[in-house]
């Protein structure tokens, strides 16, 4: 055989995989609609009601749209990272997409890497759209602590992506994966204040927002600039999200079944 033993450069394959996976995501009407557009649509819809744009002493002098904006953010992050991602990965495994790739010189781990990158990019796009529309349309100030907000968003997304991958790793089938991710999603959304605004949640659920991915409390604090003195410090919240992300990622990597 004349083809030498050097490994082929991986970049062309990875680039092509990222481009292809990005196109596939954009062709998925549910994921684009629910994950990327719906959070902004809901926030703008709520903001269309005048009373939600009035500062209220009930919300510590903030307006309801400001209090609820991080929840809208969490809604989109959850759809993309906890619903869409595991569903795609489990389907790829079930339908033999990963198996087919493992017959080529490129390891199926590359399609996983591409998928994570694309989902992360979509989450960032969804978040940017929300922050910008809230600012331009509803006059919600952009994050007061931009660095901390960016870090919270990044680490929060990473924790959800790791959890989503963990679901795909352990689920025996695509339908089991969908069931598991639905339960996880419902729980995260409850804590995130999607079903009931967090100001009306019992105290224990509000506290859980400090250490349940993606960390809705930290997103709120860094966005509105109002630290809750009685809660965990911001860096501790950030560290908790990072810890969840690393632990879930390590578990997912150890448990992931390729077929």
């Amino acid at each position: 055989m004349s083809t030498g033993t050097g490994r082929r450069p991986l970049t062309p394959a990875l680039n092509r995989l990222v481009v292809t996976e990005a196109r596939l995501l954009l062709r998925e009407p549910l994921s684009v609609g629910l994950g990327m557009l719906l959070p902004t649509a809901i926030l703008l819809g709520i903001g269309a009601i005048p009373v939600t744009r009035e500062p209220s002493p009930e919300f510590g002098g903030l307006r309801f749209v400001e209090i609820w904006a991080p929840t809208a953010l969490v809604l989109g992050m959850g759809i993309l990272c906890v619903q869409h991602l595991p569903s795609v990965l489990a389907t790829y495994r079930e339908n033999g997409v990963l198996r087919r790739m493992s017959t080529t010189p490129v390891h199926p781990g590359m399609v996983l890497a591409a998928q994570l990158a694309v989902v992360f990019a979509a989450t960032v796009a969804s978040g940017l759209l929300l922050v910008l529309s809230a600012w331009l349309v509803l006059d919600v100030e952009p994050p007061r602590q931009p660095l901390l907000f960016a870090a919270a968003f990044l680490v929060g997304s990473a924790s959800l992506i790791a959890l989503g991958t963990l679901v795909a790793a352990v689920a025996p089938s695509a339908s089991a994966s969908n069931g598991m991710s639905m339960v996880l999603y419902m729980f995260l959304m409850l804590v995130g204040g999607v079903f009931l605004p967090r100001v009306f949640l019992p105290d224990v659920l509000v506290r859980m927002g400090e250490f349940t991915p993606p960390g809705v409390q930290l997103l709120l604090e860094s966005w509105s600039g109002t630290a809750d003195a009685s809660g965990l410090s911001q860096l501790v919240q950030l560290a908790i999200m990072a810890g969840v992300a690393v632990a879930a990622a390590v578990l997912a990597a150890r448990l992931f079944r390729w077929e």
Binding site: M1, T3, T5, R7, R8, P12, A13, N15, R16, L17, T20, R23, L24, R27, E28, V88, T91, Y92, N95, G96, V97, R99, R100, M101, S102, T103, T104, P105, V106
Partner: protein
């Protein structure tokens, strides 16, 4: 050097022996068949050849390399079409080919490949919108996009309608004619008979026989039968005297003549000489189905 060499392959899943003892070698330029009933160990065998599974015993070499130790090298030159491996629903045919082309050092031109497989008009069609036959063509295209020396095609025509099956067979022959050695895994006798130069009959994890299709049939049952309707007064002793004929029986209005060698010619010569008009003349030979039963004592399906 054989293209693929499998020696005493043994593979277990826990207690269950999937492949007991399988040996064969595939020579350059042939269509080599691996034939056997479902669960005989065919797919496990090709998965070991493709390096997807470690072997528990024996040795596998592809182009002189160990597919587990030299994964990248073997994967560059071995194309594999796996049974029931799908693509993402919304990926388009052209996209899938370009994607898989990017996995190889010197890939085929996706456009030419689509031309050859007659799926050019499906370039922008989503995978889920394709018919079963079109999906199989895409699958073959993906197995060929790395310009492999040898391609493994597993259960290529399962689930296809008769028309699509015949088209797929033509395709496999044209791929071989383009210089690619082919390993064809199938449980269809007619497919193996039509396409394969040689084949390994696998049963319960072992090679029951390895020969050309005609050789296998011959080995199992060298006799042929000629049957036809004859006028009532015909004397079958005219035929039983021939060296090619071993027996002739009347069965209602039909005469059934059994023998070997050039039986048909011997029988028709006598009929012509005697001016006997034989109606509804048929030649029966055992096929691979019968050969499988004869060689393994079990039915293929």
């Amino acid at each position: 050097m054989p293209i693929i060499d499998v020696r005493n392959l043994h593979k277990r899943y826990g207690e269950k022996v999937a492949v007991d003892d399988v040996s064969f070698s595939v020579e350059e330029g042939e269509i080599f068949g691996i034939l056997g009933p479902n669960g005989a160990g065919k797919t496990t065998t090709v998965e070991c050849v493709a390096g997807l599974r470690p072997v528990d015993g024996g040795a596998v070499s592809v182009l002189g390399r160990d597919p587990r130790l030299h994964r990248d090298e073997v994967r560059e030159r071995l194309g594999v079409q796996l049974q029931e491996a799908r693509l993402p629903d919304r990926i388009r045919v052209g996209e899938a080919l370009r994607l898989y082309a990017s996995f190889y050092r010197s890939p085929a031109d996706p456009d030419q490949l689509m031309e050859m497989l007659r799926i050019t008009d499906k370039r922008d069609t989503a995978y889920r919108k394709l018919s079963g036959g079109q999906k199989q063509r895409v699958s073959i295209a993906l197995a060929l996009v790395g310009r492999p020396t040898v391609a493994v095609l597993d259960e290529l025509t399962t689930g296809l309608d008769p028309q699509a099956r015949r088209e797929t067979w033509d395709l496999v022959e044209s791929v071989r004619d383009s210089g690619v050695t082919i390993v064809l895994v199938t449980h269809f006798m007619d497919e193996a008979e039509r396409l394969c130069d040689r084949l390994a009959l696998i049963d319960q994890g072992r090679v029951a026989a390895l020969d050309t299709p005609a050789g296998l049939v011959d080995r199992a049952d060298p006799e042929q039968r000629v049957t036809f309707r004859v006028p009532a007064g015909f004397d079958e002793r005219l035929l039983t005297g021939l060296p090619e004929v071993s027996s002739a029986h009347r069965d209602g209005g039909r005469l059934r003549v059994t023998g070997r060698g050039n039986l048909l010619h011997a029988v028709t010569s006598v009929l012509a000489r005697e001016h006997v008009l034989a109606e509804d003349l048929r030649v029966e030979r055992s096929n691979l189905d019968d050969a499988f039963v004869a060689l393994t004592g079990r039915s293929l399906r």
